[in-house]
């Protein structure tokens, strides 16, 4: 479980995070949503320790991350997996090399053990023929799957995904969403996803935190989001006619 309390972050005179408090539970896909510039990425980078918050705390199973020294943070980070928006695969390494990298760096496994683990996770993300290819030789969707494989290869306790669906076609986006949700439940991971993809919100949002101008404007599940009267959320989520109709149908069905 990740607990965040009273988190503030400013860059110069611009206050980006304004006292965010929330928690992300184990085994659930937790979503952070909000418009561009609402502070989602800064919030996630604070949780990862890539940006130091000005005030507030981030606790991983009760361990205060903001109070830790850099060496302790680096140790805790070995329990984290991260899927970056642009995948952030190492260009100079093959798919296999990218996935094997954390094992090579942090475990004492033999080459064959590492190879078995890499084969297993690549199979888990439905990539069986791309071992020897370089990131530039595979599609965006495949790159995302390699990034997921790399993120889960060390059996992380926490999985962070920054816009995992950006730049993907709807079908591949759904596949990636489902994959993340399956992995979360299968390995009982605390997953936090930064997104503004409404399909993801509806499909896998077991807990949703809505940020607006650096504030936490709302939180709930994908079921609650249909019922909420919070104007900020409804304006954001139901900005398209399609989603307005979906909501209307859902509410009519319930009544």
């Amino acid at each position: 479980m990740i607990e965040v309390g009273d988190l503030y972050k400013s860059f110069g005179d611009t206050e980006v995070l304004k006292g965010i408090s929330t928690s992300f539970e184990k085994g659930k896909t937790n979503l952070i949503i909000g418009q561009s510039g609402s502070g989602k990425t800064v919030f996630m980078k604070c949780m990862l320790g890539l940006i130091n918050p000005d005030k507030g705390y981030i606790r991983y199973e009760g361990r205060d991350y903001s109070e830790m020294a850099l060496a302790e943070k680096r140790n805790l980070r070995q329990e984290m997996g991260m899927v970056f928006q642009g995948s952030a695969l190492f260009d100079s390494m093959t798919v296999e090399g990218n996935v094997m990298f954390p094992l090579d760096m942090f475990t004492r496994q033999s080459r064959s053990e590492m190879q078995d683990r890499v084969d297993f996770v690549l199979k888990r993300v439905n990539l069986v023929d791309a071992h020897k290819k370089f990131p530039s030789e595979i599609s965006g969707g495949m790159q995302k799957r390699v990034a997921i494989a790399r993120a889960i290869v060390m059996n992380p306790k926490y999985l962070f995904c920054d816009e995992p669906n950006s730049g993907l076609d709807p079908k591949t986006a759904i596949l990636i969403d489902n994959l993340i949700q399956e992995i979360t439940q299968e390995y009982n991971i605390t997953t936090v996803i930064n997104t503004h993809d409404m399909n993801s919100v509806m499909e896998i949002g077991e807990k949703i935190v809505f940020l607006k101008d650096g504030w936490k404007a709302w939180e709930g599940s994908n079921k609650d989001i249909f019922r909420t009267d919070n104007e900020a959320v409804t304006n954001f989520v139901y900005s398209s006619e399609l989603f307005k109709k979906v909501r209307q149908m859902y509410l009519e069905e319930r009544n």
Binding site: L50, A71, R74, L76, R77, Q78, M82, D91, P102
Partner: protein, 245 residues
């Protein structure tokens, strides 16, 4: 104030580079890769430039000797002194600041832009140690490059002097041996070690701490070349004063 901040950040970066070392078997591979990229990959341009610089020094010296009382062995002597004291260590370092420095800045800068450095940090890797330390180690082979630049430069001078009809081979070789002070070679190697550290770290600093996108990577590479050259020139002055003054 911003210069002081940059110097402070650079110092912190250098200290961080030596903390939390990467596993040896991973580091060994990285070091060998960097030796191939930074040292072996630069040999061609260094040999080419050194040869012609040595030749030009010999020709310039010969053309400026109008007094028949000045011995012809001065061509070999001046070529040796110029190449060993300045052209091999300093001029080659400026070339390396352009070739290797811009490669270092752009490769690390691209990793920053594409979040690959963030990916390393999130995994718990000391990204500075992983990226910069192998470059520093590889650049410690730089004195060998300078040694080769010395030989090739002097050889270029001999070719230009002898085949250009400015000097006989015997005069040139006599000039090379005249008043030779071995300490000058030591001085040159000490300078090259210092410059090697500068060439590895200053461009790394500009790449690692850059912000922005692809355009900024190009700008960072240019700025890194300017600053690496400035630092080399200033250190060259200080080291010359300290060691020869």
């Amino acid at each position: 104030m911003s210069y002081m901040t940059s110097i402070g950040s650079y110092a912190i970066m250098v200290v961080e580079t030596f903390k939390k070392p990467t596993k040896w078997h991973v580091m060994r591979t990285l070091i060998l890769k960097e030796i191939d990229e930074l040292i072996y990959g630069s040999m061609g341009i260094i040999i080419f430039i050194s040869f012609f610089i040595g030749g030009v020094v010999a020709i310039q010296t010969a053309l400026n000797i109008s007094n028949p009382l000045i011995p012809k062995n001065l061509i070999g002597f001046a070529t040796r002194q110029s190449v060993i004291l300045e052209f091999a260590p300093t001029f080659t370092s400026i070339i390396m600041a352009g070739k290797v420095g811009s490669y270092i800045t752009s490769s690390i800068g691209t990793m920053r832009v594409t979040e690959q450095i963030d990916a390393l940090e999130v995994m718990g890797v000391n990204s500075l140690n992983y990226l910069v330390f192998p470059k520093i180690v590889a650049m410690f082979l730089y004195p060998f490059v300078v040694a080769i630049a010395m030989y090739i430069g002097i050889f270029g001078g001999w070719i230009a002097g002898v085949f250009g009809g400015f000097s006989s081979s015997a005069d040139f070789v006599e000039g090379l041996q005249l008043d030779f002070i071995p300490y000058h070679v030591t001085y040159s190697f000490i300078k090259s070690v210092v410059f090697a550290f500068v060439i590895a770290t200053v461009p790394s600093y500009h790449g690692y701490y850059m912000k922005g996108g692809a355009l900024e990577v190009g700008k960072a590479a240019t700025v890194s070349f300017v600053w690496t050259s400035v630092v080399i020139i200033v250190l060259n002055y200080i080291l010359t004063q300290l060691m020869l003054g």
